[in-house]
């Protein structure tokens, strides 16, 4: 019987009759009925989403998923994580298997438009960076003229590298490998002077070295990799909700509302905080949840800064600086529209 079903499925494929998963009911309504948010996550990326000893997933992306669950269902554990490979992730979202994709996915124009996705808030500004040995005494990527660079074949990493060195009129030599592991091993063995990949990856890989402290990551970031959560086209209510969960976490950090002080902050006279925490206005209802939604998010998950520090920042072994991911008031790029 199953094989007949399968054959029927192939038949449909052959005819090109793909049935979209569009349905009249919005995702928010479904989530409320189901009592669970289904998030697409990765297969394990340090700091963004990986299983801990008990099998519980931890990371920035997972915390975003928990924040959405806290805002809607008042319980950060009411999430179901579906681990997706880079290839499956968009299909899973398009077919309705997951509600929201939070999986270190770079926001690009082609994905935003032709894949039928809406990107809702950049939770990490990543970009390609360089790692060198401290003994080289280099402080900037602009001093890398003539260096040999280890990189992975066939990725955009190689293109970005070529663009950067050409734009700065520097010479370089590429030593390319098929897998990331080979690349990093080659760099550690001294085959090349520089190792390049996404900056967050550089920090994670460095920990695997025999002597991590002998290596440093240069401040220059040579490509834009804004990692963002995404939802399907065509459900604006859900899109708004996911977007504003992100902005709420940013606003909470900006206004100094933390996991520890959120209860005291409820008594604050600051109108911005009052609107944020729902003691004034009906902002929660506008996105289809109760007005104390931000209180629930911050109490259960924390503000953006707390999430960052806990998973990838100084509170984690990765020890990534806030950098571009700092608030706009502190020289970073994280900027949230006001709640009013």
């Amino acid at each position: 019987m199953k094989s007949i079903l399968k054959a029927a499925a192939f038949g449909i494929a052959a005819l090109g009759l793909t049935v979209g998963a569009a349905s009249a009911q919005g995702v928010l309504q479904k989530v409320k009925e189901r009592g669970q948010v289904i998030c697409g996550t990765g297969l394990g990326i340090a700091g963004f989403g990986m299983p801990d000893e008990k099998g519980v997933w931890k990371g920035i992306d997972i915390d975003y998923c928990r924040a959405i669950a806290a805002a809607i269902l008042n319980d950060p554990m009411k999430v179901k994580t579906v681990s997706l490979t880079a290839k499956d992730r968009f299909t899973a979202l398009q077919s309705g298997e997951i509600d929201v994709l939070i999986r270190t996915t770079t926001w690009t124009m082609s994905r935003d438009t032709s894949l039928g996705l809406n990107f809702a808030g950049i939770n990490y500004y990543d970009g390609q960076g360089f790692m060198v040995r401290k003994s080289m005494n280099i402080k900037s990527a602009l001093e890398l003229n003539g260096a040999s660079v280890c990189t992975q074949q066939g990725t955009t990493t190689e293109l970005n590298l070529a663009d950067y060195f050409r734009a700065n009129k520097m010479k370089y030599e590429v030593v390319a490998f098929v897998t990331n592991d080979e690349t990093i091993k080659a760099y550690e063995a001294g085959r090349c002077d520089v190792f390049t990949t996404d900056a967050s990856g550089l920090f994670a890989e460095r920990l695997k070295f025999a002597k991590p402290d002998d290596h440093m990551i240069l401040p220059e970031i040579i490509s834009k990799e804004p990692l963002a959560a995404s939802v399907r086209h065509g459900d604006d209510q859900w899109f708004d909700l996911v977007k504003w969960v992100h902005y709420a976490m940013l606003n909470a950090e900006e206004l100094g509302v933390t996991q520890a002080n959120v209860d005291q902050m409820l008594k604050s006279d600051n109108p911005e905080i009052k609107r944020l925490l729902g003691t004034e206005g009906k902002f929660g209802e506008m996105i289809g949840v109760s007005n104390d939604w931000v209180v629930r998010i911050v109490k259960n998950v924390g503000n953006y800064g707390e999430v960052f520090e806990r998973n990838v920042g100084m509170g984690s072994p990765l020890k990534i600086e806030r950098g571009k991911n700092n608030l706009w008031t502190k020289g970073g790029l994280q900027y949230a529209p006001p709640i009013r």
Partner: protein
């Protein structure tokens, strides 16, 4: 005394036969003992000697580092990466077993809730009981054993693992399953379903009914014509796009069906090979006894055919067991994938973490596959009733 003295003429043609014992001779030189064995087996000729020395040299080069890594320099206790860092310990660091130890629960159960893991343990215990009951010839009541293993056990295991409100068991969705649990579920279901399905397909392919034959041929050739990875991708990526919202099967079930059907197609061809080895006389003999088609197959043909193809069947089982690692590409966390996912944990990021994880996986897979092959060889010897060639 000469030999001629014992000879007496026997008949008119003049042939002679002995009429007494020949004199005793010394036994041939039979060298025994370790030295002789070594000389005979290891140093019998110059090429043999060279190969022996080469072999010993390779062992000499490889064994100490392997033992050092796995045992003598290994780190057994620790709570973080510092325990397995050479720079911190100031001593050579081998395998970081502390990492495996901390993660062992995750490797075995995946994300299965900790309070509910006794259910998985119960299923394992029940499964082991069933396997021993069925596979160990000395244990009696095989019929009850099959009833238990093929009917009672799957039902109980299903409700235990998935959970049911009737018995107050919390529901555990399959996306939380992982590790050894998933590997064993996938391979057990694959193995248990692929053999009967394969037998049916093999019989179908040799059937005289054209529709049955056509279906079997198409199925077998189609499945053998695509790689397992493609089947898994289709099950996971394409199927959700075709099926309407309500009846989209669970991703583990999709993969289970894919693997079982895939293995069944290979099994069918193996069984067909066994069927072809059975002489025509067996069919005719069965028919002359008045047996119908199914009686003939079940009582006469299949027992002989399956016995012949035991090595191939076990070959497929072992292959299937290892193929289950492919499910990681569709986001299901089998044993190997749980290990790989743990490599990214920055709290355990050390130069030896990866090697340790893979060594652990190798030991696990070796124990299972070697066990299967040993059992099959033992079974073959037991069943070798005059068919040994």
């Amino acid at each position: 005394m000469t030999i001629g003295d014992n000879l007496t003429p026997m008949n008119s043609s003049g042939a002679y036969l002995g009429s007494g014992d020949l004199p005793e001779r010394k036994p041939p030189v039979l060298s025994r003992g370790a030295v002789a064995w070594v000389r005979e087996n290891l140093f019998s000729s110059i090429p043999n000697t060279i190969m022996t020395l080469l072999g010993f040299w390779i062992l000499w080069e490889i064994t100490p580092p392997v033992l050092n890594f796995l045992i003598f320099d290994a780190v057994w206790e620790g709570s973080g990466r510092d325990a397995c860092l050479e720079s911190v310990r100031n001593a050579p660091v081998g395998a970081c077993w502390a990492f495996v130890k901390v993660r062992l629960g995750y490797f075995f159960y995946g994300q299965y809730p900790i309070d509910e893991r006794w259910r998985v343990d119960t299923v394992w215990l029940m499964g082991t009981l069933g396997v021993v009951w069925l596979l160990w010839p000395r244990v009696p009541y095989k019929n009850w054993g099959s009833l238990y293993f093929f009917l009672i056990f799957p039902i109980v295991a299903f409700f235990l693992l998935v959970g049911t409100p009737t018995f107050n068991l919390q529901k555990v969705p399959t996306n939380l399953w992982g590790g050894v649990l998933v590997t064993l579920v996938l391979s057990t279901v694959g193995i248990v379903f692929s053999l009967p399905l394969g037998v049916l397909l093999a019989l179908g392919r040799r059937s005289k009914l054209p529709l049955v034959r056509l279906f079997s041929v198409i199925f077998i050739e189609f499945v053998r014509g695509v790689p397992l990875i493609t089947v898994l991708f289709m099950a996971n990526v394409m199927l959700p796009l075709f099926l309407p919202d309500g009846w989209r099967p669970d991703s583990l079930i999709r993969v289970l069906v894919g693997i079982a059907l895939f293995a069944a197609a290979y099994m069918a061809e193996i069984v067909r090979g066994g069927l072809q080895a059975i002489g025509r006389g067996q069919y005719e003999g069965a028919q002359s006894l008045g047996l119908g088609y199914w009686q003939m197959m079940v009582l006469i043909i299949l027992p002989q055919a399956l016995k012949i193809v035991i090595p191939n069947i076990v070959n497929t089982f072992i292959g299937l067991f290892k193929d289950t690692t492919l499910v990681s590409i569709v986001g299901i966390f089998d044993f190997l994938k749980t290990i790989e996912a743990s490599f990214v944990d920055p709290r355990w990021a050390t130069p030896v973490t990866r090697a340790t994880g893979y060594a652990f996986a190798a030991i696990f897979y070796f124990i299972f596959c070697w066990g299967m092959s040993q059992y099959s060889q033992w079974m073959e010897r037991k069943l070798a009733t005059g068919h040994k060639r």
